[in-house]
C-alpha cells in the first residue's frame, strides 16, 4: 500500500506546527545517540565553598575534543532575570573546540560572563548562560547538607535546577562559523553542539549542588541520588528570538518537517508489525501518561491542550486494547486514520512522535537529512518566466493568496529588531512606532503582493526583466523558487495577523530540539525543559533509547 505524504497546506499551519512534540528525530536525542561512545570527563572543578569558580567538562574521541567551560558567578538576587535584557547570570558557558589552554581560560573568563557584549573566537562553538531556580537549588542544598534527599514533589513541579536564557552558535559574537566545522561527521545534524552544551550544563548543575551542600556541612552531606538527577533536566525560557529563525531558514525547516513526514509515511506503509515493535509502541503510549500528568502550566491555553491530550490518549489506549487488531494489515495506518477522525491536532502529533519509537531502521537514515546547504538555493533562476512563477504561487500558496490584506486585522503586527538587545520583537503597527523598519518576515503579505504584481505582467516575461522594476519583491521571488523545491519550507499562515500565536512558531522549533513540557507564560514566550529523564554522562555507553517515556 502506498501512503501519500501529508499535505503541506495542512501540516504547515501554525496551529498544527504548534502541536508538534519531540520524537526520535529530535536533536537532543540524536545528539545522545551520536556521542554515546565518546569519552566523557570532568577535567576541572575549581569552585569555592559557595559554588563559584570555573569548571570544565569534555567529550573526547580519537583526537577530537569538545570542552564545556563553565563560569559560576555570585550575583545579587535583584540582578537575576530570565529576560534577554539581563546583564548578569548565575553561570555562563561556552563550548570550546579542543582542550582550552590556561591562556584560553583567562581570555574566556573575561568574555563569557559578559555574553552578548563579550567577544568569542573561532575556537569557541557555542555560548550560553543560565540562572538558578533559586527556590529549588536552595532546597536541594539544604536537604543534601542534612544528609537527606530533596522533596520530590517540589522537584517534579519545576523539573530542573537551572534554566538557560539563551544558547548561541553559528558565528554569533565571534563564535566559529558553521563552515569551519561542517565536515565533521559527528555534528552532521542540526544544533548538535548546542545540545552538547545544554547536556553538559545539566551535569554541572548536579555537581555544583553536591559541592555546595558538601561545603555547607561536610560531615553529614550526601550527593543527590542519580535517579533524581536523571529526572531533572535543564529549563529554558524562550522568547521571540527563535521565531524568525524558522522563517529565515526555509530549506532547513523543510528538511526537519519532511523527515518527520517521511518517517510517518513509511510507518503507515508497514503491512505486518511484529509483536516486539507492537509491545514497545504500546508501552511508550502507556508510560507517556505520566509525562502528561506531570506537565504543569498556568497557561489556560496550554491547560486546555493538556487536558484534551490526556483524555484523548486514554481513549486511544482503549482503542488500542479493544478495537485495533495489530495482526491486521497496516495497523499504523489504521491508527493514524483513527487519530485523524477521533482526536485533535495535539494528540495526533503526540502519537505520531511515538510511532517512531520502535523503528530505528526508518528514523536513523532520516537524521542525516535534517541539515541543509542553504547557499545552494540562494540564486534566483532569472531565466525563468512570470508564468512559471505564477504557477508556483498558485500551487504552493493557495490559502495565502486568499487572504485580504486590505483588512487591517490581517496586517496588524510587524516584526522588528530591538535596538536595545538586537533581538527580534513583534508589535502592533497601528499602535507602536517603527513599522517602517519592519523585517522581511511578513511572507504571506509579500507573496500576495508578488502575485498581484505578476498578474499585471506578460506571462513570457523573464524574471530578470521582472526584477528590474520590482526590486522590492526580490526577497519573495527568491523564496518562491526555493519553496517550489521544498514543500514543507513555508509556514502556511499569516505571521502578521491579529490572530497569530507566536509561541506556535517557538514550539515547532523546540519540539525538534527535543523539549518537553511546554509552558507558555504569554503568547510571546514560554518555558520548557530539556534532557529531563535523559541518561547521565556516565551512563551513556548503555542506556534505554526510549528514556523519554520511561
Amino acid at each position: 500500500m502506498r501512503v501519500e505524504l501529508r499535505d503541506p497546506n495542512i501540516i504547515m499551519k501554525l496551529s498544527r506546527l504548534g502541536s508538534f512534540h519531540q520524537s526520535k528525530l529530535s536533536f537532543l536525542r540524536s545528539f545522545l545517540d551520536e556521542f554515546k561512545d565518546w569519552e566523557y570527563n570532568r577535567d576541572l572543578f575549581n569552585l569555592d565553598s559557595g559554588g563559584y569558580g570555573v569548571a570544565i567538562y569534555s567529550f573526547k574521541k580519537n583526537k577530537r575534543v569538545y570542552s564545556l567551560v563553565c563560569f559560576a558567578n555570585k550575583i545579587d538576587d535583584n540582578d537575576r532575570s530570565d529576560r534577554v535584557i539581563a546583564t548578569k547570570w548565575d553561570a555562563a558557558f561556552t563550548l570550546h573546540d579542543g582542550v582550552p589552554s590556561k591562556k584560553d581560560i583567562e581570555r574566556l573568563k573575561n568574555e563569557v560572563p559578559r555574553q552578548e557584549v563579550g567577544r568569542l573566537s573561532y575556537k569557541e562553538l557555542t555560548l550560553s548562560r543560565a540562572n538558578k531556580s533559586v527556590r529549588v537549588f536552595n532546597h536541594v542544598v539544604e536537604n543534601l547538607s542534612k544528609g537527606i534527599q530533596p522533596d520530590l514533589n517540589l522537584l517534579e513541579k519545576v523539573g530542573y535546577l537551572y534554566r538557560t536564557t539563551a544558547v548561541y552558535g553559528s558565528g554569533k559574537f565571534g563564535l566559529a562559523d558553521r563552515f569551519r566545522i561542517k565536515n565533521r561527521t559527528e555534528i552532521n545534524g542540526p544544533f548538535r553542539l548546542e545540545m552538547m552544551l545544554v547536556y553538559l550544563v545539566r551535569q554541572f548543575t548536579f555537581d555544583q549542588v553536591n559541592h555546595v551542600a558538601k561545603h555547607k556541612n561536610p560531615k553529614s552531606a550526601v550527593n543527590l541520588d542519580p535517579k533524581i538527577c536523571r529526572n531533572l533536566g535543564i529549563g529554558n525560557s524562550t522568547g521571540l528570538g527563535m521565531a524568525p529563525f524558522i522563517v529565515n531558514h526555509p530549506t532547513l525547516l523543510n528538511n526537519w518537517v519532511l523527515s518527520r513526514e517521511i518517517a510517518l509515511k513509511k510507518i503507515r506503509e508497514i503491512e505486518n508489525v511484529n509483536s516486539k515493535d507492537k509491545d514497545l509502541f504500546k508501552k511508550c503510549v502507556k508510560d507517556s501518561l505520566k509525562n502528561i500528568t506531570s506537565w504543569n502550566s498556568e497557561s489556560e491555553f496550554q491547560i486546555k491542550k493538556i487536558n484534551s491530550l490526556l483524555i484523548n490518549v486514554k481513549r486511544f489506549l482503549e482503542f488500542l486494547e479493544n478495537q485495533l487488531d495489530f495482526k491486521s494489515p497496516y495497523p499504523f495506518n489504521q491508527i493514524y486514520s483513527w487519530l485523524e477522525k477521533e482526536t485533535c491536532e495535539e494528540t495526533i502529533e503526540y502519537i505520531v512522535s511515538m510511532m517512531m519509537e520502535p523503528f530505528d531502521e526508518i528514523v536513523q537514515p532520516l537524521i542525516k537529512n535534517m541539515s541543509s546547504d542553504e547557499e545552494r538555493y540562494f540564486r534566483i533562476p532569472t531565466e525563468r518566466t512570470v508564468l512559471e512563477l505564477k504557477n508556483i504561487l498558485k500551487q504552493r500558496y493557495p490559502e495565502i493568496l486568499k487572504i485580504d490584506f486590505e483588512n487591517k486585522s490581517n496586517l496588524r503586527n510587524f516584526w522588528f529588531i530591538s535596538k536595545n538587545k538586537e533581538e527580534p520583537r513583534y508589535a502592533d503597527r497601528f499602535e507602536e512606532e517603527g513599522a517602517e523598519l519592519e523585517q522581511p518576515l511578513a511572507i504571506a503579505r509579500d507573496i500576495k503582493r508578488l502575485n498581484d504584481q505578476l498578474n499585471s505582467c506578460k506571462d513570457d516575461l523573464t524574471i530578470d526583466r521582472f526584477l528590474m522594476n520590482n526590486s522590492d519583491l526580490r526577497h519573495v521571488v527568491r523564496r518562491a523558487f526555493i519553496i517550489e523545491k521544498f514543500p514543507y519550507a513555508e509556514i502556511q499562515d499569516n505571521t502578521i495577523s491579529e490572530n497569530v500565536v507566536p509561541i506556535d512558531m517557538l514550539r515547532l522549533k523546540l519540539s525538534f530540539f527535543g523539549a518537553l513540557k511546554f509552558d507558555p507564560r504569554s503568547d510571546k514566550w514560554l518555558r520548557i525543559c530539556m534532557f529531563q529523564g535523559a541518561p547521565l554522562p556516565n551512563e551513556l555507553k548503555d542506556y534505554n533509547q526510549h528514556w523519554v517515556y520511561c
Binding site: 563564535l175 562559523d177 558553521r178 522581511p440 530578470d464 526584477l467 526580490r474
Partner: protein
C-alpha cells in the same frame, strides 16, 4: 575577529538602512561575506560607498548592453552587480561588456564571481592597470591584492572566457607520457577477458 556570519548580517542590515530593498540587501550580505573570505576589503569599501552615497549621486544600470555609457555619474556597483548576475545568461552571448565608469569596483567583483559560477566559465575584469580573474566562484586572482582598490573604475571591461586549456598541447603530451609510466602492459589473455570482449559484438 568578526565571523563571516556577523559580516553578512551586518552588511545586509546596513544596505537596507541605506535604502536598498531587502532582496538586494541579501545579495550585498552574501557579496561582502565572499569578499572578506577571499581577503578583499569588502567592509571598508562598502562603508565608504554608503558614506559617499549620502552626498553623491550614482546611476542605476538595470539593463546591461555591450557598451554602457554613464549619463552623468558613475554606476552604482550594487545595482550593476545584481543586474549582471540576473542577466548573466544573456551577457554570456555578448562575451565582452564595457562600462564607462563604475563606482567602488571592488563591490562589483563578488557579483562577477557568482556569475562565473552560474555559467561555469571564468570571467576577466579589467580597468586601467588593475586585473581580476574570477574563477567559478572558487577564488579571485588579481594583481591588486595588497593595494587599495580605486574608488572609480574608468573604461572597465568584463570578458567572459571560453573554457579552454590553460597550457600548450606540447606540455600536456609531455606530462601524459610521464604519467604512462604508471601503466602495466596487458597480456593477450587478459585482453580477451576484459569487459566487452566476446565472440561477437552483433548479438
Amino acid at each position: 575577529m568578526k565571523s563571516l556570519s556577523e559580516i553578512e548580517t551586518t552588511s545586509k542590515r546596513a544596505s537596507r538602512a541605506s535604502g536598498y530593498s531587502w532582496g538586494i540587501s541579501e545579495e550585498v550580505g552574501k557579496s561582502i561575506r565572499l569578499l572578506e573570505m577571499f581577503s578583499f576589503k569588502g567592509i571598508k569599501n562598502l562603508n565608504e560607498y554608503f558614506k559617499d552615497k549620502k552626498d553623491k549621486k550614482f546611476e542605476n544600470l538595470n539593463l546591461i548592453d555591450e557598451n554602457n555609457e554613464c549619463l552623468e555619474f558613475s554606476y552604482c556597483p550594487i545595482i550593476l552587480g545584481v543586474s549582471f548576475l540576473d542577466q548573466i545568461k544573456n551577457l554570456e552571448k555578448i562575451k565582452t561588456v564595457n562600462f564607462s565608469k563604475i563606482a567602488y569596483p571592488l563591490l562589483f567583483l563578488p557579483f562577477l564571481s557568482r556569475s562565473s559560477e552560474v555559467i561555469g566559465k571564468k570571467i576577466f575584469f579589467k580597468f586601467e592597470k588593475n586585473e581580476f580573474l574570477l574563477n567559478i566562484n572558487v577564488n579571485i586572482a588579481t594583481n591588486l591584492l595588497n593595494e587599495n582598490c580605486p574608488n572609480v573604475a574608468t573604461n572597465a571591461e568584463v570578458k567572459i572566457l571560453e573554457n579552454n586549456d590553460n597550457f600548450m598541447e606540447q606540455d600536456w603530451k609531455s606530462l601524459y607520457q610521464l604519467s604512462e609510466k604508471t601503466f602495466v602492459e596487458e597480456t593477450e589473455s587478459l585482453k580477451k577477458g576484459a569487459a566487452g570482449a566476446g565472440l561477437t559484438d552483433n548479438d
